[in-house]
Amino acid sequence: MKFPIRRKIFFLTAILSLAFIVVSVSVSSIIFSIRSKANVMSLCQSSAERIASEMEDEHGDFIQKYKEKMVERYNKNYEDIEHYSDMPVDDESFNEIKEYFDDLVADWFPPKTGFGMSYEMLEFKNNYEDTLRKLDLVASSEGMMGGFICLYDAERNNFVYMVDSTSNVSYHYNFPCSIERVRNPELVDALDAGMPKTLAGREDIFSVFPIKDKEGNVMAYVGFQYSMVNLESTQSSFILTLVAIMIVATIAMVIVYLLFSDKFLVKNIQKLSDTAIEFSSKLERNEKPEVLSPDIKTKDEIGALSNNFVMLQNRMLDYINDIETKTAQEERMQAELSIASKIQLESLPTKPLVGDKFRIRSFIRPAKEVGGDLFDYFMLDENRLFFVIADVSGKSVPAALFMMRGNELIRSCAKRGMSTEEIAEYVNNELCRNNKEGLFISSFIGIYDLNTNVLKFTRAGHEQPFILRNGVADKISEESNFVLGALPNFRFTEDSIVLEEGDKILLYTDGLNEGINSSNEEFDYDRIKEGLEKGSSDILASLFSSLSSFTEGMEQFDDVTMMLLEIGKFGRIELKNPKYEDIPVVTDKVFSIIEGADGDKKSEMGVILDELINNYISYAFTDVSKPELVMDISISGDDMIMTFTDNGKLFNPLTSEAADVDVDISERKMGGLGIMMVREFTQKMEYDVIDGKNRLTIYKTLR
């Protein structure tokens, strides 16, 4: 049902009304039955008293005369009278009884027509009819069975009827001069004393009142009879009427109540509910929110609720506006921060720097917030490589700005030809000036001489780098100087180390070693050492992936910056929009890098390069607008690792189907043959995706 509250109100009202009807009808019928019996008794009594008094006033003589005649007949014919009076009345006996009593009084009872009557008789007739009419008038108007006038024979305890208003065709009719025995002792006592009496019997209510002559003697009695059957039927018709009225009244009341509750309660609640639904769906649809009034005009609790609801909407819209404003502000701040972060990153070198005898490259994964990590590397002259890695205390924009200032200072000092300790000293003093924020920079500054293989460095409060030599990783630079920007005029000292071919120096910021896992453990130096010693063609990517799986599920809190300096034979060839004509050029360059390799190995390398580059141009770059292929070569001893990184569509050549070389020559397709050649001439091949680019790594021995 759509409106259960309506149903509830309806059922509750109906049940209460029914209970009300039942209770009130039963109570009122009880009260009525008690009241009405008493009423009827007093009615009978007062009617008898009134008629008795009227009889005394107007018909005293008539009654006196009538009584004398009656007494005479009664005494004379008592046995017959008794016989006929006691005879059970039915259709047969009625006429016989009537005939007897009519005959008994015929000589002095006037005929129906007044023709030829004596004056005396006429007077008797008039009086009789008058009396009868009065009795009848009272009886019929009050709903009684009838009224009568009778004598009382105290000796025999008999009523002797004189006038009876009950219709004389009814069996209840008492013929003049007929008798009825008085058996009720209370009535007998009253009649003996000449007192009025009212009695309620099982069948009727009965009241008699004495008619007295002028001397006060009782002449006769006036009696009225009220049938109990009549009373009961009146009572039941009263109750029926009452019930009917109550049902009608209750139904009307219920309807009025329901209409009222519907109008003021259910409909208003429905309105409230509809408004709430509309409001919330508007919010959901992101329509322009506005306050909706439920259109409830009553001033009751529902009206108050409606007003409160409007108030609530106002508050909610205010709140939403607030949030939107704040979100917009936050978004703007976030955008500014990301621009700051981008500017910061753009000032750092993005590409590896590769010389004949070294390669230096970096890896940075900034945290969400702008951080203060920096690194830089460039050649000071033909033979000297300068590099620095640093971390500014603090985060966000101030740290980034401080970092940029530090970076510019370090770079310009390095370009002026200063040694690492001089750079540190100068930059320290510069940063100490006006450093109200109290920021400082930890850094590692190094200059590597390619001729002497000596690396000179100054460590200023920075993490100790690792050196990987002959498969073992160790920290270098035991003693540190103080951080930059904290103590003016600090005396920095330079240290040095001789590097050998195959050495790898890992520099990093604390984002690496202080990476936290879900158990609050740090990544720490042991895992770095382990990662280095494990060996990989791409140490930086491999270390970061170890860190990522270690800190799984945690937000990256700090920038992760790493820099790797590798000593050995390196080469890097970048091809933009490669064409087939580039193949011989690349081949010549590679041959010069791997100079000293066996002739056959060089030829094999030639096959490899032709197959791969041909493949890139023919397939990988067909739908790429700015194709780029970068080849990195690193040689350590007799072993060469060469990576091919391309921005073509992602494709793993190692899973491509091998060509079927056993098929007859005329049906043979060449696809897949190239990669088979490459496989044939390499020791190992690997494929992965790095920064959304394909990377193929081949391992080849050169002797």
Partner: protein
């Protein structure tokens, strides 16, 4: 890649040197077409060929099909270690006449 040609007695003899890769195979094909390599036996001297890639193999396959159609012969001579290896990988040692 360098190539010299000699045509006598219905045989085209080509002496090839250097690399046979994507670029040079195309050059060799053009040179052979220019010399007229149809309805002749072809004798390729690979003594000075450094290496051959699959692009070169494609050219050799095309030549082989061509001579087979006219019942001529294709002979490849004096292949070095790397070329031998390439031929082996491609299954060429089974279908070509290599002397």
């Amino acid at each position: 890649m360098e190539s010299t040609f000699k045509k006598e007695n219905g045989t085209l003899t080509a002496v090839i040197s250097g690399r046979l890769d994507t670029v040079t195979s195309q050059e060799l094909k053009e040179a052979l077409d220019k010399e007229g390599c149809e309805n002749v036996d072809i004798d390729l001297d690979f003594t000075d060929v450094e290496y051959i890639s699959s692009a070169g193999l494609r050219l050799l396959l095309a030549l082989q099909r061509q001579v087979m159609e006219t019942n001529n012969k294709l002979v490849i001579r004096n292949i070095n270690k790397v070329v031998t290896e390439v031929f082996k990988v491609a299954g060429f040692n089974k279908t070509f006449t290599i002397l």
